[in-house]
Symmetry: C2
Subunit: 308 residues, 2 copies
């Protein structure tokens, strides 16, 4: 799956992942009204609204980008109907041949991490049958519990030829409180990064490992250091656009081959029609605004990489 991701990035010339993190207030009124007319102002109505919203965006951008990253929290808040919308979104994106990165940030110990891995990238046994509960291609994993927490994901990923992205340095303002602490003279994110590199050596694709890292766009100097520390690691970069990161900040997240990083934008793509820049599209054509935002992001990133 890492090979597929790399090939799609090369073919489309687009190191871009669209974050499908729908807030209900991003969903245009015409979609909400239709969903609520059918299901009422209920969790089912909310689930239907975000699913229809997602479908419009996926249809509009699926020929431009290699991957999507649905953030499960945004679905989980609507309970079972929200998680049904998450599953429909994952399945639909896979039909459209998009690589699906489940942004789930799970992490636990031993058999419990194994159960999360089974849920999202593996198969569960029930009697004589096997089922895939959610079936993303990659998931994000929290490393705070150490190797015990991460290894069960890697074991399942080896069987399934799937992968993970481990949180190393997150994009938020307070990420440094623990991640930047100096331990043995090195910030914790470097220690975690080094482990990601090691874990990756046990599960390599053709040119990159199946064990990626999350490094926020908002800390470009740290991105540069981590790029060198983890040469075979794909870096998933959140924080572009709405959180402040821009293309020129991100060139050092890439390797000399022009690969090695994939940049996420969520609000900047899915709620583009709410920005002044794309207001001309209007709420009805929200998906066309998302398409234009992807094209602009691609130009920004490729321009920055060309001038590297």
């Amino acid at each position: 799956m890492i090979n597929k991701l790399v090939k799609k990035i090369e073919d489309l010339q687009a190191p871009i992942v669209a974050g499908l993190d729908p807030m209900l207030n991003y969903v245009p009124d015409h979609i909400k009204e239709k969903a609520f007319a059918e299901y009422g102002e209920t969790l089912e109505g909310a689930g239907e609204a975000i699913w229809q919203f997602n479908k419009g965006i996926v249809d509009a951008v699926c020929d431009l980008i290699p991957a999507v990253k649905p953030q499960i929290a945004m679905y989980e808040q609507f309970g079972i109907p929200g998680l049904q919308a998450f599953k429909k979104t994952v399945d639909y994106c896979k039909e459209k041949d998009l690589v699906v990165i489940g942004d789930i940030k799970r992490g636990d110990i031993g058999s419990t991490s194994g159960a999360y891995a089974t849920a999202h990238v593996g198969q569960v046994q029930v009697g004589s049958n096997k089922f895939r509960a959610f079936d993303e291609d990659f998931v994000t994993v929290n490393p705070y519990l150490g190797t015990d927490g991460v290894k069960p994901f890697i074991e399942v990923c080896k069987e399934e030829k799937k992968g993970i992205f481990v949180l190393v340095k997150t994009s938020n303002p307070s990420s440094g409180e623990f991640q930047d602490r100096l331990a043995d003279g090195k910030p914790l994110y470097e220690i975690v990064g080094k482990m990601v590199d090691e874990w990756g050596q046990s599960h390599m694709g053709d040119s990159y490992s199946y064990v990626g890292a999350v490094v926020g766009a908002t800390y470009p100097e740290i991105g540069k250091v981590l790029r060198q520390l983890m040469p075979k690691t794909y870096i998933l970069v959140p924080g572009y656009g709405a959180q402040g990161g821009k293309g020129s900040d991100l060139v050092h997240y890439f390797n000399k081959d022009g690969l090695g990083a994939i940049v996420n934008s969520s609000r900047g793509i899915i709620a583009a029609y709410k920005q002044d820049k794309y207001a001309r599209f209007g709420a009805e054509a929200y998906a066309d605004a998302s398409r234009q935002a992807v094209l602009d992001m691609k130009e920004d990133l490729l321009g920055a990489l060309a001038g590297k």
Copy 2:
């Protein structure tokens, strides 16, 4: 809710939480056969089996213990039907007046952490209606992303008079890889513990704060240090029993008032009938074996505390 938890612990003289982490192979054949006869060997069948299994245990122990801790990973692996079983379990335990600690170990940034908090301890707005998606009383939270990731949970908990337990030092063998790293001369778990103490000061109950900590039973010396560092923090202690912790190791997790800690046992209670010690009960009476295991655990803990 922390006041209710403390009162129940005092009234029942039982600082015990039963971990409802059902593996399908813990479920006795008679329950599985019935569930599969009705729903087939499907995710629905698995969901029904673990729900019926849980119900039996809850009925057998609910008068002895103050709280349960369902581990959501064990349900998530069965997809939507598994999560429906999680929800049924949470709702049923609340009907039985048990305090429900959702072991979800979520953690993200800003609005995303807010969405997780909404999902599990808050209310989500859909049009003019509000809904509770899952509705636990407490949840466990991963602190790796810093204050940005934890504060949204505390904000929701303040409104709802609910609480969290923050992972500080986990019970697994590799927990030290990152958590024990010395930063500014102190192990990371102490730095996180200090933050938990601070976060808790903003959301206090009568005698303890609504912001608890997870500290594994398998590291008693660390438990002693953290107890002193976080005097108003309730400590949730996993790792008793199956993972190796025993009552005499745990006396220093408690304060002089005999309070301040609640000890979790999962396999040791819910799969008690599979142990030689309780084999006499047999699979049909698995819930009676669980009840006996709770009584024995209570005796072990109270004995250790009396001899403190």
